[in-house]
Symmetry: C2
């Protein structure tokens, strides 16, 4: 009898122990991630990038195109990794890596950006520094060669976070950033995409304002962790083909397309921007980690593969935490992506 009683108490004991371990969030989780990760050693540096998510399948890309995208992703990672290896800042790594992606005609950012309904290139970018949550962004600029640098300048040289349109261009000019003729952003491929979108719209009737969502793919982003433990995230885009009315998507919106906090993670998003704004996607990954004490991978997957999928918000994100753990979830067919850590390099396009 006494033996049975002890076993009974023992079972309750372990059942309770088990139930105590189940809830991942504790009060302490606001300031810290779960106990498991606390003991993790931080990577010396880490960098992760994306070049947009969308309907990207093996059948869509020729072997030459496939190679060109992988080469561009590797070249971009090379730039950021070199800066981090030499002890440079995550801020410089993110800015310079995105410069390369903005200059590449392969991606929908800078040169190679998609066209608005009016046949213009309106560019958006944002950047956030995880130490003090400083942030800067520009929306709808048409003549700034590197929108990501304009975003950095807003963060560093103005009391504001988000400048738009002509005012943002004036600010960039005053700050001595490189100004180009709007024709610099032209690529035949994106011009043809606009003509095709307009034609489809005409065939579907004037009242049809549905956009060519698929042609949004190509937004670029980068998140880096440096030796000082600073996490910086940046995003740059041309938005959606055939967009109207000076529409801004999530890329210039801190908390939606870009977020960074050294205590949790850095995030850069790509996808159907309106959903990423309404679901505060970039910040939500951080909030899940902070408030529920779950890992970066669990948080990023929850947002991209559960929450966004439930409501039809297509896209993905790249993120890293303060230990250099990387997450690159997407719910579309593919996402141009890659990351580098000491002795480690991954570049990928499809679900693989």
């Amino acid at each position: 009898m006494r033996h049975t009683f002890a076993i009974f108490i023992g079972l309750i004991f372990f059942a309770l122990l088990g139930s105590c371990e189940a809830p991942p969030a504790t009060e302490a989780a606001t300031e810290d991630t779960s106990e498991e990760t606390v003991e993790q050693e931080a990577a010396e540096y880490a960098i992760v990038i994306h070049g947009g998510a969308g309907t990207i399948t093996r059948e869509d890309l020729t072997p030459a195109q496939d190679s060109a995208y992988r080469a561009a992703l590797n070249a971009a990672l090379d730039i950021g990794e070199k800066i981090l290896q030499e002890g440079g800042s995550a801020l410089d790594a993110v800015e310079n890596t995105i410069h390369y992606l903005e200059e590449s005609p392969l991606f929908n950012a800078g040169h190679g950006a998609v066209f608005t309904n009016e046949g213009r290139n309106e560019l958006d970018a944002s950047i956030m520094h995880g130490a003090e949550r400083l942030a800067g962004a520009v929306g709808g600029v048409t003549n700034v060669k590197h929108p990501i640098s304009a975003a950095r300048s807003v963060m560093e040289d103005s009391p504001h976070v988000l400048l738009t349109g002509k005012g943002a261009e004036q600010f960039a000019t005053e700050q001595g950033l490189e100004i180009v003729d709007p024709s610099y952003f032209y690529t035949e491929r994106r011009w043809n995409a606009l003509q095709a979108a307009i034609q489809r719209e005409e065939e579907m009737g004037e009242a049809q304002v549905e956009l060519d969502h698929d042609e949004k793919k190509g937004t670029v982003g980068c998140v880096a962790l440096d030796k000082d433990g600073n996490i910086v995230a940046g995003t740059s885009t041309g938005g959606m083909t055939n967009k109207r009315w000076n529409r801004l998507g999530d890329s210039p919106i801190i908390g939606a397309g870009t977020f960074a906090d050294n205590a949790t993670c850095g995030v850069s998003c790509t996808g159907h921007g309106e959903f990423f704004i309404r679901w505060a996607v970039a910040y939500d990954v951080s909030a899940l980690m902070a408030y529920k004490g779950i890992s970066l991978e669990e948080a990023a997957t929850e947002v991209v593969n559960n929450k966004l999928v439930e409501v039809g918000g297509s896209g993905g994100l790249v993120a890293l935490d303060r230990y250099g753990n990387v997450s690159m979830p997407f719910n579309s067919e593919g996402m141009y992506r890659g990351y580098a850590r000491p002795g480690e390099r991954v570049v990928a396009i499809y679900k693989e």
Copy 2:
């Protein structure tokens, strides 16, 4: 011995039970608030408004001004409450309540908005519906009489969330919204505030771009809960006196200045917008409730009186949850605010 053993086991048992209750967040909290609040009965309706937070003390306002503000807040609440009492939607209540505040010269929204450095009125507004998290916003419009209605139209009549500048004005015109001459927004008080800000700036030297933060007070916002359980939040503002470069603050940013989700709460913010963007304030209140299972009051207080205070982000917010509980925290000297529920009416200005 046997007795001692049982007591020992019993102590461990209760110690474990206690430790299990301690963490407020559980997996279920993602979908639901804490068990305590589940049993609460929802108010038939509730509406809460603000007319801006800032350096507002009893000494700042004459008795006549004090009365004028209280009368305006009551009149605004009357409009929204009547709609809700008659079974109307939270969406209509929020829009029409904000119409009144936009038309009042007392507040920094619509007629009575502050001036930019260039001597213009650039208006921002956003609205969000908690049922499906639909949202709309406009930034930097100069000729739309009711920016909150333009935001609603973006939500209902476009595939986008955020339109800006000339594009947003074109959209509002196409949708048949009331367009006014920009001089409609002029008030002598705000014009004089700009002249004073420019003069202070000149005295402090050309390089000085610090803004007159105090003159930002007056942003308006409204959150309502209707009989169908829908929560809608809206915010409208003229931004900061002497702002430059088509700066956008938090008011047109979903997740920063405005957020609504029927499962958690609706929030409208007012304050130093750059901080509210970087701290994703409106969404953060919702995230704290969802992920930590804490109450609206706890979540709103945590964000406004702890997080924002730590970093020097001045301002406040009004919010309500799905039961009609209201929270109106602010960390400045005062906030024009008020709420109404069946048989209950509160209007306040100072810390009281």
